[in-house]
Amino acid sequence: MSVITFIIDDEHYSAKEGDTILQVTRDNKIHIPTLCYLDGLSTFGACRLCVVEIEGSPKLFPACTTKPTEGMIVRTKTDRLKRYRRMIVELLASEGNHQCAVCVVNGHCELQNLAYEVGLDHVRFPYLFPHKSLDATHKEFVMDRNRCVLCTRCVRVCHEVEGAHVWDIAGRGINCEIIADLNQPWGTSESCTSCGKCVRVCPTGALFEKGASIGEMQKERGFIKFIVNARNKSEWVHTAHEEE
């Protein structure tokens, strides 16, 4: 297997062929914010929080889908990147309906943590306050589309790991929504096995267990990597938890 040597923030690193920039930064404890990426699931590259600069190109590249090449010079913490990352969080906040004070994941939310990380003291874009639905028809879980950031983790985990493929994305652009089966109430879905994987990987308060009150819903996401590892490599070991 060939090894690639390249530079991240002025330091030299080596990557195995096929590794993404994000894998190398995580292995080396360099922090890059992520949202749609989750260890164990396929990469989707949708949220753009993980963008990095690559010398020689004016474009920004998502670290989670970009593979390093020999001698590549990558920057992860420039002012331009910080500006864009903050803007992404501002757009996410203004496109949904987020009232942390009354949310089930208040204090344990990946979107909140991102807001703190980018120093989001206020949102400069006008809030859109879209009309979104809440589906409480499932006997155990609730889908509150007001809090959904369209990361598609639920779609991917249900398809790739559980094999049920309940969730899909419907609509376009700002009207995109996560739907169950043929756009029907979740509780009437015949494909859902009620495994709860989607609830556990959801970064926000969009998917939660019934009965959870404000701040009570805590998620655990490392199990996906455990399951996928066990399945692919027959290794039943807990690897070091990814950062969240």
């Binding site: 309906n97 009232q99 942390c100 004070a101 807001a115 703190y116 120093g119 206020h122 949102v123």
Partner: protein, 178 residues
């Protein structure tokens, strides 16, 4: 002369003001250092001129809030969005994703015990704006204090900085929504 400080209560639950009162014994120290020239906890009718700092609780939800926000801005050197409702709209803005007529029907007709009637211009209460807005969408805001409500320590930090003539830059630990 002592700094002239005001606090105002727009579309919020008064929780941020309760948190202000949670300054407890620090209130005594504060009372010696500032002149509280306007506040829901001070009996002053009109928002005064020439105010140094105003803490504004709540979203801008109705015509009165909006008028008040402009007066506050005109008469204050520093305006602080005080709490999550002032910063994001928060709970006050949860009605925004429904049409105003639907919201009013629900509150004044469906849930009325007596005399169901939607307040119109002949009733002397403020008219709801089409949507409740965070303060900075109406007037320029200088500092944001987060939290529902902001903690007394956070308020104290901000006020202490202001009393030293600094615009408070809140340390990351104080950036907490909810």
């Amino acid at each position: 002369m002592k700094p002239r400080v005001a606090t105002a209560w727009l579309g919020g639950c008064s929780g941020c003001h309760m948190s202000f009162l949670d300054l407890d014994e620090r209130l005594i120290e504060l009372a010696e250092k500032i002149d509280l020239v306007y506040s829901p906890i001070a009996d002053v009718k009109e928002f005064p001129e020439n105010v140094d700092v105003t803490l504004v609780e709540g979203a801008v939800a109705n015509s009165e809030n909006e008028e008040m926000a402009h007066i506050i801005r005109k008469n204050s050197r520093i305006v602080i969005a005080f709490g999550d409702c002032a910063t994001t709209g928060n709970v006050t803005a949860m009605r925004n994703s429904f049409p105003l007529a639907e919201v009013q029907n629900r509150s004044y007709i469906d849930l009325a015990d007596k005399n169901p009637r939607i307040p119109d211009e002949y009733v002397t209460i403020a008219q709801l704006l089409k949507t409740a807005k965070p303060l900075h969408e109406i007037i320029k805001v200088d500092v944001w204090l987060h939290g529902c409500p902001p903690t007394a320590d956070q308020i104290w930090f901000a006020i202490s900085e202001l009393l030293q003539g600094k615009i408070p830059v809140l340390p990351p630990a104080y950036l907490r929504y909810g």
